[in-house]
């Protein structure tokens, strides 16, 4: 087969995947970018008003708003705390799972799977009940009835972050546990024979071998936690007192979609997509530089 023919065959094999990707990724992004360039509200959707092309007007509007930057900063910080928290808790429990007896491990996994499979709205509501100012179990135990966790900006953020970590650590834990289990016993044995300490083994043998998995769970967590909506929306009643617990997704919903400003909403969506792409690319490049082959 000629090189050209080979290329054609390869392309033919790739076509179905490309079509799916095109349909599921490229077209929505295309529509998103398109809408973000127009003044596109309910009047325009239902044909009651003409379309006005704004160019970058929506973006100017957005980037010129002080609240946007505040919310963006909050989102980044909130996501960072959630990612670090999720990874730490997940990794700790994964390591724990490799060291305990079977029934303890089973219990741990069942509990984690329970948290994982709880729908976000239900989970958030249950946490709200637990932390209710007057009737909550937590306040009862701590003896601080009447203390509102969701009023203060920082306790509210802390509570939501704890909930997010609670429902996302199981993914990290299960994945890392599988990764640790997949490390060949000979490698660890060799390290032990060479006289490496437990810490040294973990740092120089286990961790490098787990790297691809850690990479995947980190990127996943960043994307998930950056896009948190349900927990903030439900637990802080749509963004907290005076909107001080807003994150980008809830902000987009409130300012744009609930207000039928789809153009502005699309612009926020584009900004989020670009940001996430940038973070992911930056992360990938940093890893590649440090010698990881992807």
């Amino acid at each position: 087969m000629t090189a050209k023919g080979q290329g054609r065959t390869a392309f033919a094999y790739l076509t179905p995947a490309l079509l799916v990707l095109g349909g599921l990724l490229a077209y929505p992004i295309y529509q998103l970018v398109l809408i973000s360039l127009y003044d596109y509200g309910q009047e325009q959707v239902s044909g009651g008003a003409p379309l006005t092309f704004l160019g970058l007007g929506n973006y100017q509007n957005l980037l010129g708003s002080q609240q946007f930057w505040t919310v963006l900063g909050q989102t980044v910080a909130f996501a960072a705390v959630c990612v670090v928290g999720t990874l730490l808790v997940g990794a700790f429990l994964a390591i724990l799972a490799t060291r305990v007896r079977t029934w303890v491990r089973m219990t741990l996994f069942l509990a984690a799977l329970g948290a994982w499979s709880t729908p976000a709205v239900a989970g958030s509501t249950i946490w709200l009940f637990l932390f209710d100012a007057n009737f909550g179990f937590v306040n009862e135990v701590l003896g601080i009835q009447g203390f509102s966790w969701t009023f203060d900006k920082w306790t509210a953020f802390g509570l939501v972050a704890a909930q997010v970590i609670w429902c996302s650590f199981p993914f990290v834990m299960v994945t890392l546990y599988a990764g640790i289990k997949a490390i060949p016993g000979e490698v660890l044995e060799a390290a032990a024979l060479d006289g490496a300490s437990a810490f040294r083994t973990a740092w120089s043998v286990t961790l490098p071998l787990l790297r691809p998995i850690i990479l995947v769970v980190t990127i996943q967590s960043i994307i998930w936690d950056f896009k948190v909506f349900t927990q903030i929306y439900v637990m802080t009643n749509g963004g907290g007192i005076a909107g001080r617990n807003l994150v980008l997704n809830v902000y987009a919903y409130q300012q744009a979609f609930a207000a039928s400003e789809y153009g502005l909403g699309a612009a926020i969506g584009v900004v989020m997509t670009v940001l996430l792409l940038a973070i992911t690319l930056f992360y990938l490049r940093a890893l590649r530089r440090s010698g990881e082959v992807l």
Partner: protein
Amino acid sequence: MRLKTLVAVLGVGAVVACAPVQSGPTNTSTDEKTGQLRVWLFDEVNRGPKEAVVKEAITEFQGKHSGVTVDVQYIQVSSRAERFKAAFSDPKSAPDVAEFGNTDLAGYVSAGGFSELDLSSWSESKDLVPTILDTAKVDGKTYGVPWFVGVRALYYRTDVFTELGLKPPTTLDEIAPLARQIRQRKPELIGISAGGKYLFAALPFIWAQGGDLAKQDGGKFTAAIDSAEAKAGVTKYTELIKDDICPPATCAGNGGDASVEQFRAGKAAMTIGGDFNRKSVDASSAAGKYGVVPLPGKTAGSIAPAFAGGNLLGVLKGTQRKTLSNEFVQLLASKKYQQKMYTAMGNLPTFADVQKQVSDSDKFLEPFTKTLQSGTKFVPVTPAWAKIEAQTVVPTMIQEVVTGAKNVDTATADAAKTMNAAFAS
């Protein structure tokens, strides 16, 4: 990086090539006299009695028009925005007649959803209370018939007031000192349950001072929330959400339901509640030991202008049975059926004479009908208001003042700025 380039290329291509989708408004000229009339009404917690009255009206209507059937769908209030948006975007799935909230009117009309109604040939229409009929108008044109109205007044605990030897407030200025005194003497009670998100409780305070949310000048709205009068009202209202009356940690996040809930739970000595809250309060620990007075105005004996909430019945623009739709609206909103709806659901009628009739027979309604008769007010009738409401501009402003994040001057100035941006777009 390649994806970004692709996105950029697509973006540029899109600008040149085409525009986002729009669905055209179908202004049909057909007016069929038979077939199925589709009606959307709001679902309610206890829908049974409402459904019975509606069924009665349908039977009467179908008896008068042979070959006509009426199909009623009960839609959820919480998802109404999506349902109506979908109906306007796709007239085929839209009903002919619909019940909708009067605050949604301006947005629906500008979206091209509802058609103008001509009530001149309907003899009963002259008895509709003018300020209530105004809530069905956009730019002087009527787009709906007020089906019922909801208005709020001051609920207070008679047992607490008797025990402390107090009398209900007679001016707006008396409310805060009175509430403070109650909390001082009974620290387990909230003086008055006011909420940071309870817009319809805050508005009378602003209106009573002579302020308003916005003023209209030649069809153009400008925010007036930063006027001296409005600021006085905001100051008076936010004074209530303080530790010595209604602690922010409890009250700042409360909307109307949560505010009334404090009163129901017996934790508040006063609250601002609607005629529609009666059933739930009667089923609570406050039952039998509360009274209601109109929310007092600035001077003794006056009543603070209340917000005239309520629902309208309207005819969708895309309907193919305009005459039938009009007739059905006029039947369901008629005096006869409003009276029946009052008996069934406790909905306050919108006709002056029917209002008087029901309040004469039920003393509980007196403070509410008095409030209605002394003049009610409304939010700005412009599609921008729906946007301002969705963006929670006014509640955020109140919460900013309550939490001390901003003072009244800054908070109202910022709110005015956001509102003006919405009015301008």
